[in-house]
Amino acid sequence: MNYREFRYRRLKEFLHAVRNNKMALVGSLTLLFFLLVAIFGPIFVPFSTLEFGEVEDMLLPPGGEHLLGTDDMGRDVLANLISGARISLLVGVLATAISMVIGCAIGIVSGYFGGRIDQLLMRFTDFFLVIPWLPLMMVLAAVLGTNIWNIILVIGITSWPGSARVVRSQTLSVKERQFVERTVSIGASSGHIMLRHILPNVFPLVFANTVLVAAIAITSETTLSFLGLGDPSQASWGMMLHYAFESGAASAGAYWYYLPPGFCVVAVVLAFTLMGYAFDEILNPKLKNR
């Protein structure tokens, strides 16, 4: 068979595998749903998220025009929810990307070269590992300002050490495998080996880890926002929870204000987690042949 047939077959098998694996199915469908909502949602819910509404529109329960009611400022909750989807997903993805790129690079280089490079990089990693992320984030947020990009940066910087350690230990074991020795024997450079052999074999672990880090990133953003360190100009789910709490919506019994964003965070985080668990099986060509 030629290359095109091969690509087609692989894609078919991948989709088939996702369909059959319930965890992956649930996870990916959930994420797909939220993604579509984030992109196309505002078309369907034409309410503004920032303009203050009329006084009589405040804290209206769900019904009529406002499917999920209004918040304490008269804004439509559903509109905010959809806008929040964008922010939360964006933060989750970008922060995770930063974290994984740094973590992977350091983990692989450290594990492959060993010796002094390893020692140096690992001490550097330990330094970041020991810092408790919440206080660090709070400090950085206070210093740098509560801008959405700073939030992303802060989350990225505090979550890479865990990945680096995991990637490093996997690298140590992959490095000993005979196909790496074979690649040395044909004259390959270290860079080639790390990129073409170590990385693909570390990848399933990385991917599973990535997805879990995404879950953590979203939770972190929500936490920061809830604590008031988030970007006030962006209506993320965390900010919604923050305002809901501040305005006393809980004691006022306005469940439509705080339950939806909470539920959304849980749903997205759970979806990422399910995918993390399921995708290693799917991506590993060996394991399919049972």
């Binding site: 068979m1 030629n2 290359y3 047939e5 091969f6 495998r177 005979q178 196909f179 020795e181 074979r182 690649t183 040395v184 024997s185 044909i186 004259g187 390959a188 450079s189 080639h192 073409r196 052999h197 693909p200 074999n201 060509p285 060996k286 042949n289």
Partner: protein, 328 residues
Amino acid sequence: MKNEIIRVEGLKVYYDLKDSFVSNLFTKKKKQVRAVDDVSFSIGKGEILSLVGESGSGKTTTGKAILQLLKITEGNILFHGSRANPEDKAYMKSFRQKAQMIFQDPYQALNPRHLVLDLVAEPLDVNRLVSSAKEREERVVLALEQAGLSPGGDYLYRYPHELSGGQRQRVVIAGAMIMNPEFIVADEPVSMLDASIRTGILRLMMKFREERELAYLFITHDLSLAWLISDRIAIMYLGSILEIGSADDVIKRALHPYTKALTAIMPTPGVNPEKQRNTLPGEIASAAEEIVGCKFRTRCDKAFDKCACERPALKEIEDGHFVACHLY
């Protein structure tokens, strides 16, 4: 020897054993494993030398050391007469194209996530020997077909786990042959394959020897296999060569007590009623213990005083047939 490709002189590969933290506190002495302890031999063009020994004999370590896959403690490796220098990048590049390895476990030797096409083409990629994707594919197909996988095009887009053991080993061989090497170290290339598949691989290796004057260092624990395909055989024990000579000399006119014990113990297919194969007492000692004198003396029934004091050197007894034993 004028057609000499590889010459090994006084090769020593020693490792420091990392002892446990506690014992390091009490003793200053570090244990050293003498995996390869002063080994010398040479291989000429188109010649097959087998390195035979039990586990722990150092045969695999010798093979890898020759290909500079491990750090050499002492000794010289001469390739076409010039000394191998692992620091010299230009030298190593050229050396690696001409000297390749075939591994024991074809599954472990191939990255399970790579396609056969990429696995066989990798030597070309890494050494920048092809300029277009088409040329790359053509050369891979050619290498696969020469290794007996025909039509080569059918195998390009498969993963190693989709192939049988014999096919995988052929892929490994295709990858080793694609750069037209002059010298191959084959580390137990057939021991993980079924008997009926082995013959195919062995015939393939012999074919390359006939067609390209390829020289082999064939590492195995199976003496009858070594007899079948080699020109010369070297018997190793605990890092030293005890006997070396032509295949027929070593097997049929064995001199060293260890060689004699190995040949006596070789199983032969057939009716062998009550043939209690006479085994040697004890087991192979550890290479970490320093043994004064002949390394084999603890299991030798012919050992005498000199064996405990002086290590015997290789002596030529008949033409081309050397043995390291005080009995001679």
